[in-house]
Symmetry: C2
Subunit: 325 residues, 2 copies
C-alpha cells in the first residue's frame, strides 16, 4: 500500500470501542449525554465505526446491576443516533455464551446496528461460526474476535483461523487480551492472520491492550503500513479494562487521511474523560499491568491489586508466578 508517513492508506477503518471496552470499567453505566457526545465526536473526527456496547442476554446478566450498554436494546441506541443517517457505522459485541443471539439480535432491516462483532475463545469456534451465520443471515456485517490468543497453542490457532476463513465472516480480529505481545510477535501473528485473510478474501482487524504501553505500537505493527490489519480498534484516552486500549487520539494523530480530525476527540477528553477520572474511575498503564502482561496472565489479578490499594509490587509479582504460571 506504500504508506510512508506522508501519503496515507485509504482503506483503513478506525473503530472506536470506548463505550464497549470502557463499559468493563463502570459496568456499562455511561449516561446518554456521554454516549451522545461521543457519537458526535466520532462523527466529527471521521471515525469509521462506533461500538455501543455488548449484546448480552438479560437472562444471564441482571439488568439492575449493569447499565444499558451491556444490552444495547435497539431503542436505547436509537435514542442517541436516531436513524443514524451518517457515514459512521454502528456495532455491538456479542460474546459467545453470553448472548441469546437467535432472539436478541433482530433483523438488520429493523436495526440501526451495522456490524455484529463476535468475541470467542478458541474452544468455542463452532458456536462463534453459528453466530456469524445467524448475523449474516439477518443482514449484518460480522467480525470474529478470537480472545486470549497469547494462551492458545499454535495448532489450535491455525485450525481456528482456517475455520473462520471458510465461514461467512467479514473481518478476523487479532486480539491481545492480556496485553502480553511484543511488536515482533504481532508482526508474526499478522503474517499468519493475513495469510488466511488473503486466501479467503477476509479483512483483518487488531485490538490491542496497553499493559506494557505497547497498544499503540502494536496497532501500528499490525497495520503493517497498509499491508496488514485495516480495522484498527481504539478508545478515547485508552478507556478500557485494566491497562486499557490503544488511545484513539494517538491513532488519529498518526493517520494522514484528511478525513480524520483529532480536535473533536481532544474536546471530548476535556469535557467527558477528565471528569470520569475525577469521579474515581481508574484505568490505564500501571506497574501491575506490566507484570500480568509480561507473565501472560489475566489482568483481573492486577485490577484486584489496584482496587485493594496495594503497592507491594514485589509480593504481587511472586503471587502472580505462584497463581498463574
Amino acid at each position: 500500500m506504500n504508506h510512508n508517513l506522508i501519503s496515507y492508506v485509504p482503506n483503513l477503518k478506525v473503530f472506536d470501542c470506548t463505550l464497549r471496552d470502557g463499559g468493563l470499567v463502570n459496568d456499562s453505566f455511561f449516561t446518554d449525554d456521554f454516549a451522545r457526545a461521543l457519537y458526535q465526536a466520532n462523527l466529527k473526527a471521521g471515525v469509521d465505526y462506533m461500538e455501543f456496547g455488548y449484546k448480552c442476554s438479560k437472562q444471564i446478566f441482571d439488568s439492575d446491576r449493569f447499565g444499558k450498554w451491556k444490552f444495547c436494546d435497539e431503542e436505547d441506541i436509537r435514542a442517541i443516533v436516531g436513524d443514524n443517517h451518517t457515514d459512521l457505522k454502528l456495532s455491538v459485541m456479542a460474546d459467545v455464551g453470553r448472548c441469546d443471539y437467535q432472539n436478541d439480535i433482530i433483523p438488520k432491516t429493523d436495526s440501526v446496528i451495522d456490524t455484529i462483532r463476535i468475541a470467542t475463545y478458541v474452544n468455542a469456534i463452532p458456536t462463534c461460526i453459528d453466530m456469524i451465520e445467524d448475523a449474516k443471515n439477518k443482514g449484518y456485517e460480522t467480525t470474529a474476535n478470537i480472545m486470549a490468543v497469547s494462551k492458545v497453542n499454535g495448532d489450535d490457532l491455525k485450525n481456528s483461523l482456517e475455520l473462520l476463513g471458510q465461514s461467512d465472516v467479514d473481518v478476523i480480529y487479532l486480539v491481545d487480551s492480556f496485553g502480553s505481545f511484543y511488536p515482533e510477535q504481532i508482526r508474526r501473528l499478522t503474517d499468519q492472520y493475513m495469510e488466511i485473510c488473503t486466501k479467503y478474501g477476509k479483512k483483518m482487524g487488531v485490538h490491542a491492550h496497553n499493559n506494557q504501553q505497547l497498544a499503540f505500537a502494536n496497532t501500528l505493527e499490525a497495520m503493517n503500513k497498509g499491508d496488514g490489519a485495516t480495522y484498527l480498534d481504539a478508545t478515547v484516552s485508552g478507556l478500557g479494562r485494566g491497562a486499557g486500549n490503544c488511545h484513539l487520539e494517538m491513532l488519529l494523530s498518526f493517520l494522514r487521511n484528511p478525513k480524520y480530525k483529532t480536535i473533536p476527540v481532544l474536546k471530548f477528553i476535556e469535557k467527558y474523560i477528565l471528569p470520569l477520572r475525577e469521579q474515581g474511575l481508574v484505568w490505564g498503564y500501571d506497574v501491575p499491568y506490566l507484570l500480568t502482561g509480561q507473565l501472560n496472565a489475566h489482568p483481573s489479578f492486577a485490577i484486584k491489586f489496584i482496587k485493594e490499594g496495594r503497592q507491594d509490587y514485589y509480593n504481587f509479582f511472586h503471587e502472580l508466578i505462584d497463581d498463574t504460571l
Copy 2:
C-alpha cells in the same frame, strides 16, 4: 544475532539514566539515600551502566539552584559508590556548551567514572568531537548523543554521523528528544546509524522519550533483535523530563539474559518512586505530550501547560501550531 524471545542477545547494555534525566524534573535534587538505593537496585538488577547526572560547569549554572547531580563532583559520586569495585559502569553527561570539560573532567585514573556521554546539537559537532578527544585522551569511554534529530535535515545528519564515525567515539546514540518518532522512522534511522557504526567499528545506542507512549516500542525497534542499538537507555518508571523515558522495568522484563532481574527495580519503585509522585513530582505520558510529539515540538510547551494546571487541550493544540510550526 537471532534474538527470538526465547534466546537472548548477550552484548546488550542496559543504561540507567534515572538520576540524570530525572534530574530535569527536580533540578537534580536527589538525596544521597535515593542515589544509593538506586545504585544498589541497579547492581542487583544486573544493569550495565548508571548515569549519575550532568557534568555542568559551576561557572554557567548556579550551584545553589541545582542539586549536586547537576555537577557530579568526584567526591559526591564516591560518597555513594566508594571505589565502585563492581561490574556496574558509571557515567556522566557533558552537554556541549554547558561543560568546562578541559578543567572539570579529571583524568580517568583519578575518577570512578567510566564513561563520558557527550550531548550535542548537530550544529556543534566540531565541539562535540573536541570533547570526545579530550575525554578519550583522559582515558574514558565516550558516547556522542545527537539531540533533536527529528528537527535535523537529512544532509546535516549524514555529515554529522560521518564525522562522528571518523572520531574516536565508542558509541553513537540515536536520541528522540521530542518523542516524535514512530517505530518505522526509528527503523530507518537505525539502519542509517548502523551503516556508519559498522563502517567505523562503533556501537549504537538509543535514547527514547515517551510522548506518544512509544519509548519502549522504539527502544525495541532500534535494538532490532540484536542487529541494531546495543546501548539501551531507560529510567525507573520512565522518570525524566516531560513524558519521560523508556521504563527500565519494561526493558528488563523483556530481556531474557539471566543476568537481568526485575525485582530489585520493583522494590525500588515501591520505596523510592511512589513517594516522589506523592510529593508532587510530575512526569510521564499525558495528552499535551502527545500533541508536542505529534507536532515535533519541544516538550517545554507541554511541561508549561501542565504546570499551569491547564486542561484545555484544544486551545493548546492551536497555540502549538501557531508557535512551533
